[in-house]
């Protein structure tokens, strides 16, 4: 079953073309990674899928239902954001409560009446992210990594089936990246559909069943299994997600079939 189906999806910001004629499907229970250089349109695509940006051209379907400006209000009333969780790229803009507990509890408070049940959920999710000691802390004093964890926790606490995560691991240290990737991997195994954008190949390998490569001219270069995409050096260089001049890159590919 397809969660999203896009046919000739394009988006313009004023005169500037941001997405150019995209065609893809997102299958239920699978995980997808969007990769591409800065400014390729990944965030815009995620905003469209999350219903935040609806001024696009072309056709988009959400579980075979038309998904556009005219139909979104109906989907919203049917509980779209109970099914879909969206994490902003800039967590500073996403967090709007004064302390961590209120931030995480905000979602469940909208549909769970029992405050004890809410507290239980908040505590369980905070424990999962190892931030239970921060529950009474002010949001503004948190570190970048802690803010990421709070942002992700505040999305997951709603238990959405589909997770749209805009660079959930950027600005994190390697340990935290692995920690977040591990949680997301468990969620994938629990049957959640995950769509994320990332610049981290480790996250790709660990998480993504499929990878969508977006080019700098805002088109989809290729959609394929992650292992296959990662072996295609020319594709990755063309998409500007790796630079063949970097020594580390050369070493990474040493001995492999695609050795430069």
């Amino acid at each position: 079953m397809n969660v999203y189906t896009a046919k000739n999806l394009s988006y313009k910001a004023g005169e500037k073309l941001i997405l150019d004629n995209l065609n893809f499907t997102i299958e239920k229970g699978k995980s997808y990674a969007l990769i591409g250089c800065n400014g390729s349109g990944k965030t815009t695509l995620m905003k469209i899928l999350a219903g935040v940006e609806l001024n696009f051209e072309g056709d988009l379907y959400f579980f075979d239902k038309k998904f556009d400006k005219s139909t979104f209000e109906k989907l919203f009333k049917e509980g779209f954001y109970k099914k879909v969780g969206y994490m902003f790229q800039d967590t500073d803009l996403q967090l709007f409560n004064l302390n961590v507990f209120d931030e995480i509890a905000f979602g469940p408070r909208q549909y769970i009446a029992d405050e004890k049940e809410i507290e239980k959920r908040v505590f369980e999710i905070a424990k999962l992210f190892g931030i239970e000691n921060l529950l009474q802390s002010d949001i503004l004093v948190l570190s970048g990594g802690e803010k990421k964890k709070v942002a992700l926790a505040s999305i997951l606490v709603n238990n959405p089936d589909i997770l749209i995560l805009d660079e959930p691991t950027n600005d994190l240290d390697p340990k935290s990246i692995r920690f977040i990737a591990k949680i997301l991997s468990e969620l994938k195994n629990a049957g959640k559909t995950i769509i994320l954008s990332t610049h981290h190949f480790d996250v790709l390998l660990l998480l993504a069943d499929f990878t969508i490569v977006v080019s700098s001219d805002h088109k989809i270069l290729k959609i394929g299994k992650t292992e296959e995409i990662l072996k295609d050096k020319e594709l990755l260089v063309e998409a500007n997600v790796i630079d063949s001049e970097f020594e580390l890159f050369k070493n990474l590919f040493k001995g492999s079939e695609v050795s430069p």
């Binding site: 009333k77 509980g79 879909v84 969780g85 709007f96 004064l98 979602g107 408070r109 238990n159 949680i183």
Partner: protein, 265 residues
């Protein structure tokens, strides 16, 4: 290890209510309010900012002091023509300048109009407010914000004021963006219904207050660490009054509008 609730689907009943008019309007208004910060390369953007500032101040003064409905109609027409020539989003301009403050001014003035049986005064008040907001938005749209208040810095006593204005203008844009994002963030984590609206609004106001202070501090540091100072002589030396055909035309237009104000009274 995932908590149990994440491994299964929730079966809570989703109770959705229609988004209230005020909520929807504020959201739309904030989105619309951003149009005038978009980059623009119209003919008006070439006019030096000092001329535009004089035009803005004098035009606003004329509108504020005039008691003529004809002059209001004339002023409205002038702004619409400027907006059309500069290819501004006319719909966004009209909604963002008329949907809130002038409308509220009119509603607040209605009891006075009923008591004194004088609708014209109330109407004039709201028209004046709307036209001044409109011209302000059009001038900002056609200007480089960082240069708009530079002419003030030539008057020694107003240097701090010009810095404050610059800081405020930058923060307004960041804050509008922040509020819009907060409303998006809220929407993406609810199912349409806010369980406790008053608490949400109180928290949001408090959060925006704290966040605006935080943003102000950071903007201040960002500006200062890049060498910005209102007292910088280099900064002042770089700003030169340009007097050309465009500026002369702006002053002439200002003069003609003044004559029209006298004629249409």
């Amino acid at each position: 290890m995932l908590p149990e609730f994440l491994k299964s689907q929730d079966n809570f009943t989703i109770d959705v209510e229609k988004e209230s008019y005020v909520q929807k309007s504020i959201f739309e208004y904030l989105k619309l309010s951003q149009w005038f910060f978009k980059p623009n390369k119209s003919a008006f953007s070439k006019i030096d900012e000092w001329a535009k500032l004089i035009f803005l101040i004098w035009f606003s003064f004329l509108v504020a002091t005039s008691q003529s409905l004809y002059f209001m109609a004339f002023s409205f027409g002038v702004i619409v023509i400027i907006a059309l020539i500069s290819k501004a989003d006319l719909k966004a301009l009209l909604i963002s300048s008329w949907a809130f403050v002038p409308l509220l001014t009119f509603i607040i003035g209605l009891p006075y109009a009923v008591l004194t049986k004088n609708l014209i005064t109330t109407l004039l008040q709201s028209l004046k407010t709307g036209i001044i907001i409109m011209i302000g938005e059009v001038v900002i749209y056609n200007s480089r914000i960082d240069r708009l208040f530079k002419p003030f810095s030539f008057l020694n006593g107003l240097r701090e004021f010009s810095w404050l204005i610059e800081l405020t203008l930058r923060n307004i844009f960041i804050l509008i963006n922040t509020i819009t994002q907060i409303l998006f963030a809220r929407k993406t984590r609810t199912v349409g219904k806010i369980s406790d609206k008053m608490t949400f609004i109180k928290q949001m106001v408090k959060f925006i207050g704290i966040k605006s202070m935080y943003i102000s501090e950071n903007t201040f540091v960002a500006m200062k660490t890049r060498g910005y100072s209102p007292k910088s002589r280099v900064c002042l030396a770089r700003y030169k009054f340009r007097i050309g055909i465009e500026e002369a035309f702006t002053l002439l237009t200002t003069f003609l509008i003044t004559i029209f104000e006298r004629v249409l009274t």
